[in-house]
């Protein structure tokens, strides 16, 4: 028996950074899967329609948007069919909005586990984001069906969708980490988040294309991280019908990465006292 270096040596001390944190995260990766699986399963228990709700919801939203922004508000859309324009923007936005709503309360709704079991707490908001990702993927299939319906052939740029999806993921994660950690200590955020989501819907290019924003406001408008994501999605899916304003895009992306970095740092810092104040 090798007694020189024990396999699992752990030192616990006040203020000591958890050196093995990222290794722990890898060890607990299956828990991430299980928590997401649990949340999705529970959603549709004892419902009649079941998983079909995952499809009906985005379709209904798309119809409502098309009516409001296309027919009533009459925002211009360029050459692409209006529903596809709206849908291409709505897809990443819904992902972001759902991720935020779910994850901001995720730590508190799992407070029982947090106060009784050890696991890297980062997994909790991540699992909420993953659940939204699953919704996104289902909605993406609906988009494919929509494009078939309109016989709209997407351009070669569509191969960039995974890249923009990654960007959306990073943006969602960044905000989720901040909000979920803040919400533990300051429960006010429970009321602030729906407001952020509602407000964000109007300043993000979901119901309109970024091209309608006047030149002088472009840069300020691009401070919204979702502008880069949604514009990117539109560009990838609609091709030449949508153009990206590159300075704005880079600004958005830069901000996304900054928020993510800050989010991870803040979360790790406050994670230590979660069990004490949750």
């Amino acid at each position: 028996m090798d007694t020189t270096t024990p396999s699992h040596r752990l030192v616990i001390e006040a203020g000591r950074a958890e050196r093995n944190y990222w290794r722990d995260l890898w060890r607990y990766r299956e828990l991430l899967y299980f928590l997401s699986w649990r949340d999705i399963l529970v959603r549709y228990k004892q419902t009649v329609i079941g998983v079909a709700w995952s499809v009906i919801r985005p379709v209904l939203t798309m119809i409502v948007f098309t009516v409001i922004f296309g027919k009533l508000a009459k925002f211009p859309s360029g050459d692409a069919p209006y529903p596809i324009l709206v849908y291409a923007g709505m897809l990443p936005w819904q992902f972001f909005a759902n991720a935020l709503s779910e994850s901001s309360n995720s730590l508190i709704s799992n407070s029982n586990m947090i106060s009784k079991v050890y696991f890297p707490r980062l997994i909790v908001p991540c699992s909420a984001v993953i659940v939204s990702l699953v919704d996104f993927l289902i909605s993406f299939v609906v988009l494919a069906v929509l494009m078939l319906w309109y016989q709209y052939i997407p351009s070669w740029q569509i191969i960039f969708v995974p890249l923009f999806l990654l960007l959306a993921l990073l943006a969602s994660l960044g905000f989720s980490l901040w909000l979920s950690a803040l919400n533990v200590k300051y429960r006010d955020f429970r009321y602030i988040v729906p407001f952020i989501v509602q407000f964000g819907l109007y300043v993000s290019p979901v119901g309109f294309a970024s091209s309608v924003v006047p030149e002088k406001w472009r840069l300020l408008y691009s401070l919204n991280p979702m502008v880069g994501v949604i514009d990117g999605f539109r560009w990838a899916i609609l091709g030449g019908d949508a153009i990206i304003y590159w300075p704005g895009f880079l600004l958005s992306t830069g901000l996304t990465l900054l928020i993510l970095y800050g989010g991870v740092k803040y979360f790790r810092k406050t994670e230590r006292i979660f069990a004490d104040i949750i």
Binding site: H8, F34, R38
Partner: protein
């Protein structure tokens, strides 16, 4: 030294308690205006550290300077009153919360069972919850799949695997939850009072499983419980915590004695103090109580191989009909074993005239078991009143010296009493 698995040095944990300075919020209207007035100062206060307006903060040390070492294969019982710091200690060892001061080194994988059914979701079925709970406790999917049948067999819920657990009875729920946790394979297992739930059969099963885990597989166990029988059965070391400090570390039986013995008077000298403090009564008063064995007054321990004499002196102030002095015998769990009256021989109810009296009772040798008893001496007027609400407490720590099992010294004496009964054996 090389097989020390847990090493704790000067561990302390502090919590901050906030107190409202002004507690006069009686009227709802004043409550409302106060809250509105405070919103401004609270928002400002959120940005600076320290207590908000009108609040004071107190330091509460849940654990203070706790140090100990645990070796591979140890079975440690942690006991103490509610609020002593046991659960806090386990939470820190399980990395759920951070220490304020001190240092802990752990070698080996730790699995903690601080609550049964952590993470169980009531809408999911038993099968789904086994996977979920197993994952939460740190098992991989492969491991859960491998042990699935064993877990179901231990929990005895085959029939109900696919029903949502919200439909389970509380017994089934707890069995399932423990079954998953029981099949963890950590090097160090930490268990917190989870046996408080469940019926007697379940508790026996759980204890048995924990015994297997430690004796057959050589794993280390830390076990918190209020069930002293379980601690005695399962553990070979005991830690006693009191108000956040580790005040005793050693054998379970002595630890348990120390747990029961906090602050209450034990020696006969203290009995005089207790008698002096008894409330006065117009009809009766205790004057002296003394215990002796073989004409020697009793010290810290009493031998069960010798008769125990208890002598009570008391004074009666008025003629009383049906005055009865009695002794209640309680075991170490607080169960009343029997009550003995001083006048059991009487056939009628005599009148006791005023004066001083002495009553002596002898508890025969080979009657008591080597446990800790609490005796309560009291007196009553039949059908009228009992003089003292609680009586005079007398603590007996009984040591084994009698006939019971004398040919088999390592055979423990079981039960709360050990009366010597005559057996006769002949060969037929």
């Amino acid at each position: 030294m090389s097989d020390t698995v847990i090493s704790v040095e000067n561990l302390s944990k502090k919590y901050l308690l906030t107190h409202l300075a002004d507690k006069r919020e009686q009227l709802f209207s004043s409550l409302l205006t106060n809250k509105l007035k405070n919103v401004g100062s609270r928002v400002a206060g959120a940005f600076k550290r320290g207590p908000a307006q009108g609040q004071t903060v107190e330091d509460f040390w849940a654990l203070k300077d706790v140090s100990f070492e645990i070796k591979q294969g140890d079975r440690v019982g942690i006991i103490g009153r509610n609020g002593a710091g046991k659960s806090t200690l386990l939470k820190i060892l399980s990395r759920i919360t951070e220490p304020t001061k001190g240092r802990i080194t752990i070698d080996g994988r730790v699995a903690s069972l601080l609550e049964v059914g952590t993470g169980f979701h009531s809408e999911l079925s038993g099968r789904e919850n086994i996977y979920l709970n197993g994952a939460i406790l740190g098992m991989s999917r492969e491991e859960i799949k491998r042990k699935f049948d064993e877990i179901v067999a231990f929990a005895e819920v085959e029939q109900f695997l696919d029903t949502p657990v919200k439909r389970y009875s509380s017994g089934m729920y707890v069995r399932l939850a423990f079954a998953v946790a029981a099949h963890l394979e950590p090097e160090i297992l930490i268990v917190d009072e989870v046996l408080a739930v469940g019926d007697a059969q379940f508790q026996k099963k759980c204890l048995g499983k924990m015994e297997d885990v430690s004796t057959k597989e050589g794993r280390t166990i830390l076990f918190v419980s209020h069930n002293m029988e379980a601690i005695k059965r399962l553990c070979d070391r005991a830690f006693l915590l009191q108000s956040g400090r580790l005040i005793y570390e050693g054998s379970p039986s002595q630890g348990i004695d120390s747990y029961f013995a906090d602050g209450s008077g034990e020696d006969c000298a203290d009995l005089d103090q207790i008698i002096k403090k008894l409330p006065s009564d117009p009809a009766f008063s205790f004057m002296k109580v003394s215990l002796s064995q073989n004409k020697h007054s009793v010290g810290k321990f009493v031998e069960n191989g010798l008769p125990l004499e208890i002598e009570v002196t008391y004074q009666v102030f008025e003629p009383t009909v049906g005055l009865r002095v009695f002794l209640d015998f309680y075991d170490d769990q607080g169960t009343l074993l029997f009550r003995s009256f001083h006048d059991e021989d009487n056939t009628g109810m005599p009148t006791m005239q005023p004066g001083k009296y002495t009553s002596v009772v002898v508890i025969p040798e080979d009657t008591l078991a080597p446990i800790r008893y609490e005796l309560r001496l009291n007196a009553t007027i039949y059908n009228v009143r009992t003089f003292y609400s609680e009586g005079i407490p007398i603590y007996l720590n009984v040591e084994r010296s009698g006939k019971a099992n004398r040919a088999y010294p390592s055979e423990p004496i079981r039960g709360k009493l050990a009366p010597f009964l005559p057996w006769q054996t002949i060969q037929v």
